[in-house]
């Protein structure tokens, strides 16, 4: 039944319970808008046609004020906007009061990616949620203001640095929906996109366990690549030699890097680690200092994995890479289940 109403001319599909709050009010206001626009334009056209200047037509005497008329068109709109206010407010309260049993997911926004952290500590760049379950998102931002917006859910909330903003929703159908950043945040604002995947509750649990385990089982190079792709590094760095906002990372490891102050530095493990945690320390010649620090958001082992990945795409790195078979999960793996502070 919902499929029939989905994707109307005005609104995207109604994939959350908030849509049932928002849409009726939207269409009520739309009805009023159409009525009043039609009324005003019709009167305008009729008056212009009937009273337009032409041979033999004279201005006819008519009153230049009428308190009764003035009060009529003051009071009727007042009543109507109070009705709109009331329903807008009531709907907003419903959207604001978080159900006590909501499933909590932490959201970290940074230029220019989203990170969703689940109760078991696993983090992902895509939002996965169970259907028909109230979801509470607790959001923070590491740099500037962002805004998480899911049109199909009719929800939007700013992620503001220095405070937690929270909101909730409940998906009413499974599927994949767009997530946008709605608050302007610099160069790649329009690329700060991700998806929300709505699963059946059992599938969701299975996905969460498997995703966490899969990350544990990955060899460091593969884990590093996954982090590189999933944590927003690709917004500014290509894995080839193409310049984006930051340098391409192919062949960087082990090379001599020229810095903005004119000096050169060998790109070994410590340099890469510093570049991730303290990006302003050594800025590569020809680039600005846009990179945010990942201190506190990547664990040491995750940074190790990223370094392994950079080694794997560099011709300057000659020694063998750890292979999946040779790696015992307990020693070299990247534990994704470390809870964030």
């Amino acid at each position: 039944m919902w499929r029939v109403l989905a994707n109307s001319f005005w609104m995207p599909e109604r994939a959350s319970t908030h849509a049932e709050t928002v849409d009726p009010l939207f269409y009520f206001i739309l009805g009023l808008c159409i009525f009043f626009t039609a009324l005003i334009v019709t009167l305008l056209v009729v008056f212009v046609l009937r009273y337009r200047h032409r041979a033999g037509h004279q201005q006819q005497p008519s009153p230049s004020h009428s308190t009764r008329l003035e009060l009529t068109w003051s009071i009727i709109p007042t009543i109507l906007v109070l009705i709109i206010f009331y329903y807008g407010f009531r709907g907003y309260l419903r959207m604001s009061v978080v159900p006590p049993n909501a499933y909590r997911i932490d959201v970290t926004a940074r230029m220019w990616n989203w990170q969703f952290t689940y109760p078991n500590g696993y983090s992902d760049g895509t939002l996965h949620i169970p259907v028909d379950t109230p979801i509470l998102l607790v959001m923070r931002s590491e740099d500037v203001i962002h805004s998480l917006y899911v049109p199909a859910f009719r929800v939007k909330r700013d992620a503001v640095p220095g405070r937690y903003n929270r909101f909730w929703f409940q998906a009413r159908q499974t599927g994949t929906f767009d997530v946008y950043c709605a608050e302007y945040c610099g160069t790649n604002h329009s690329q700060m996109l991700t998806k929300v995947v709505v699963h059946d509750p059992t599938d969701f649990q299975k996905w969460l366990v498997e995703a966490a385990e899969a990350e544990n089982r990955l060899d460091p190079v593969a884990a590093g690549r996954k982090l590189f792709e999933g944590r927003g590094c690709t917004q500014c760095h290509s894995s080839g030699t193409t310049k984006l906002i930051g340098p391409g990372l192919q062949d960087v490891f082990g090379s001599q890097v020229r810095l903005a102050d004119g000096s050169t530095v060998l790109a070994e493990d410590n340099y890469i680690r510093d570049s991730i945690l303290h990006p302003q320390k050594q800025i590569v010649a020809g680039y600005g200092g846009e990179m945010p620090s990942y201190a506190g958001s990547l664990t040491d082992r995750q940074i190790d994995a990223i370094i392994w990945y950079m080694k794997s795409i560099s011709k300057h790195h000659q020694s063998p890479l750890p292979s999946p078979a040779a790696t015992a999960p307990t020693t070299q793996s990247v534990p994704a289940t470390v809870p964030r502070p």
Partner: protein, 587 residues
């Protein structure tokens, strides 16, 4: 060509005077250092139309970038998105600070206000010149910085100090203080200087309206344009200093590292939004109130009827000015502001819609049983009525909390504020320009081409912006350099509309240019209006009036008759304080 070839005898206002304000003195200095409100208005006209041209070119560039989701100009994605951010910032900032806010008050207000009062000048002519100099200085500075950034982003050309701006016209922190590597400081300085221009103009207008009203002009016999300017001036005086304070705090944070808005320094970024919108929401009414004032002149003049509900229109201007200070929080419904504050701001927001609705119905009622002349200024007035209706009504979606949440920061907002700020204000601006043009330059504008251009602009505008309501309600976020493929159809339609509107505006410009070159000499009162500025010759002499005119009901047009010979309206019988009308002999 033919303005100055007048008889020396200048018997009446319909006779082009030998000496008018345009020819009173010659030379660049006589313009740049003039104290004549009319010349200052003309200089504002040149500067503001220049800003409008610049903002318009950038609007076209923005719409061209958005024709496809891919980079259009440079090819390289990251550089392209940077360029786009500079483009939309320049478009928005120049249009808001340099065109829409000063447009009607600085050009038409300066020109008309003293004459509507039957006065020789504004209350403080020297202060008026200072306002213009501040506007020009701040504006040049602002444009230099912003254009420098565009050149750098597009071509890699570095102008000294031309850092550009990529924060949007809203300067939101902490992006503007912490992350943006552009010229936030110099751009802010430019806006700050222009803010002073706005404040001083406000002071001048308030003083003029209080002190200079002529005999017979009580508050409720004042033309409604003056009520609009009075309400605007109140906002300019009270709100613009807050912008100045905000921008200074921004400077303090960026230059000195004082933590006010940046959480990294212990500040609160939402505080900036409160400061900013405490000015910038009232600023929306700085834009629309003068436009409403123009409407209240155009509609009764061309309907040949007394305005309907004078007092309600006058009071509603003041009501809008006062209420406009109480609604700024509706820009922050999803920022984390408390639900209680949201509810209060939502309720107050709806209160502003009532006086606006009252005005629309009053203008409509003025048409009833009139003798409507569909000349160019009237077409813009009718266009305003339609666009303002759409713009105002769509505000209801955004004032209501539940519907605001999904629509906030989408193209729905973009469409809404363009209908109000751009559609309505621009239409009133163009209508006012066409209306007072004969008084400004003593030349008539070709009405047929004027009407065709008005139609093209109207169609182009609606094509551009109506579709953006749908894009926005479907979820398209604003300030996106690129977008998911599903929104492409809306963007393509919108861009085509923008090109069409550009064509219409070029037609308007040619229309005006043609008038300056070959326009028929204008009679003193080409439209038959009863406000005082039409009781002197076109263009007016340096001192405006030979004798101070006496005011009566500004909307009683019954004494004016169209005179075929002069192509203008004459007063029957000739009244006190009004020179005997002698129709000019045709060559």
């Amino acid at each position: 060509m033919s303005t100055t070839q007048a008889s020396a005898a200048a018997a009446g206002p319909d006779e082009p005077a030998a000496d008018n304000y345009l020819t009173h003195r010659r030379g660049v200095r006589s313009w740049l250092l003039t104290l004549d409100h009319k010349r200052i208005a003309v200089m504002y006209m040149v500067a503001i139309l220049g800003a409008f041209l610049l903002g318009g070119i950038f609007a076209v560039l923005v719409r061209t970038e958005l024709l496809t989701p891919k980079p259009v100009f440079l090819g390289n994605a990251a550089r392209e998105w940077d360029l786009y951010n500079h483009l939309f910032t320049l478009h928005g900032a120049v249009m808001v600070f340099m065109f829409v806010i000063p447009g009607i008050p600085a050009i038409m207000g300066n020109f008309v206000l003293p004459m509507m009062l039957g006065a020789k000048d504004v209350a403080f002519p020297r202060l008026n010149l200072l306002s213009f100099h501040l506007y020009a200085l701040g504006g040049l500075f602002f444009v230099y910085v912003l254009l420098g950034g565009v050149l750098q982003a597009a071509f890699g050309i570095h102008l000294p100090g031309g850092f550009g701006l990529d924060t949007g016209w809203t300067f939101y922190t902490p992006y503007s203080t912490g992350k943006s590597i552009t010229g936030v400081i110099p751009a802010t300085m430019g806006a700050f200087i222009m803010g002073f221009s706005s404040i001083l103009t406000g002071v001048n207008f308030v003083a003029s309206i209080h002190m200079l009203r002529p005999r017979g002009m009580t508050w409720f016999r004042m033309p409604l344009f003056l009520w609009g300017l009075y309400a605007t001036s109140i906002i300019q005086i009270l709100a613009t200093p807050v912008l100045g304070i905000t921008l200074l705090l921004l400077l303090a944070e960026r230059a000195l590292g004082v933590g006010i808005f940046d959480p990294a320094l212990g500040g609160d970024p939402v505080l900036f939004q409160h400061f900013f919108w405490f000015y910038s929401h009232p600023a929306v009414y700085i834009m629309i109130l003068p436009a409403m004032g123009v409407m209240s002149e155009l509609v009764p003049t061309f309907a040949r009827k007394h305005i309907f509900g004078y007092r309600f229109i006058a009071y509603s201007s003041i009501a809008i000015a006062l209420l406009s200070f109480l609604v700024w929080g509706h820009h922050m419904f999803v920022s984390g502001q408390s639900p209680l504050a949201n509810a209060i701001f939502s309720l107050l927001t709806f209160s502003v819609s009532i006086p606006s609705a009252i005005k629309v119905f009053n203008w409509l009622a003025t048409l009833y049983k009139g003798d409507i002349r569909l000349q160019t200024p009237m077409l813009y007035a009718l266009g305003f009525l339609v666009l303002f209706t759409v713009g105002g009504l769509t505000g209801l979606f955004l004032g209501a909390l539940a519907t605001n949440v999904p629509l906030h920061d989408t193209y729905f907002i973009v469409a809404h504020f363009h209908y109000v700020m751009m559609g309505s204000v621009l239409f009133a601006f163009l209508g006012g320009m066409y209306y007072w043009w004969p008084k400004f330059f003593g030349k008539m504008v070709d009405d047929r081409w004027g009407r065709i251009a008005a139609l093209v602009v109207f169609v182009g505008f609606n094509l551009t912006f109506f579709v953006q309501f749908v894009a926005g309600s479907q979820g398209m976020p604003r300030r996106y350099a690129s977008y998911p493929e599903k929104y492409r159809i809306y963007h393509v339609i919108s861009s085509i509309g923008a090109y069409l509107m550009a064509v219409g505006l070029v037609m308007v410009a040619l229309n005006w240019w043609h008038s300056l070159r070959r326009g028929r000499p204008a009679p003193a009162n080409p439209w038959g209006s009863n406000t005082l500025e039409w009781r002197t010759s076109s263009p007016p002499p340096h001192d405006n009036f030979a004798k101070a005119p006496e005011a009566d009901d500004p909307y009683d047009v019954s004494a004016w008759r169209f005179d075929q010979a002069s192509g203008g309206w004459v007063h029957e019988p000739a009244q006190r304080g009004f020179d005997v009308v002698v129709p000019p002999t045709k060559a």
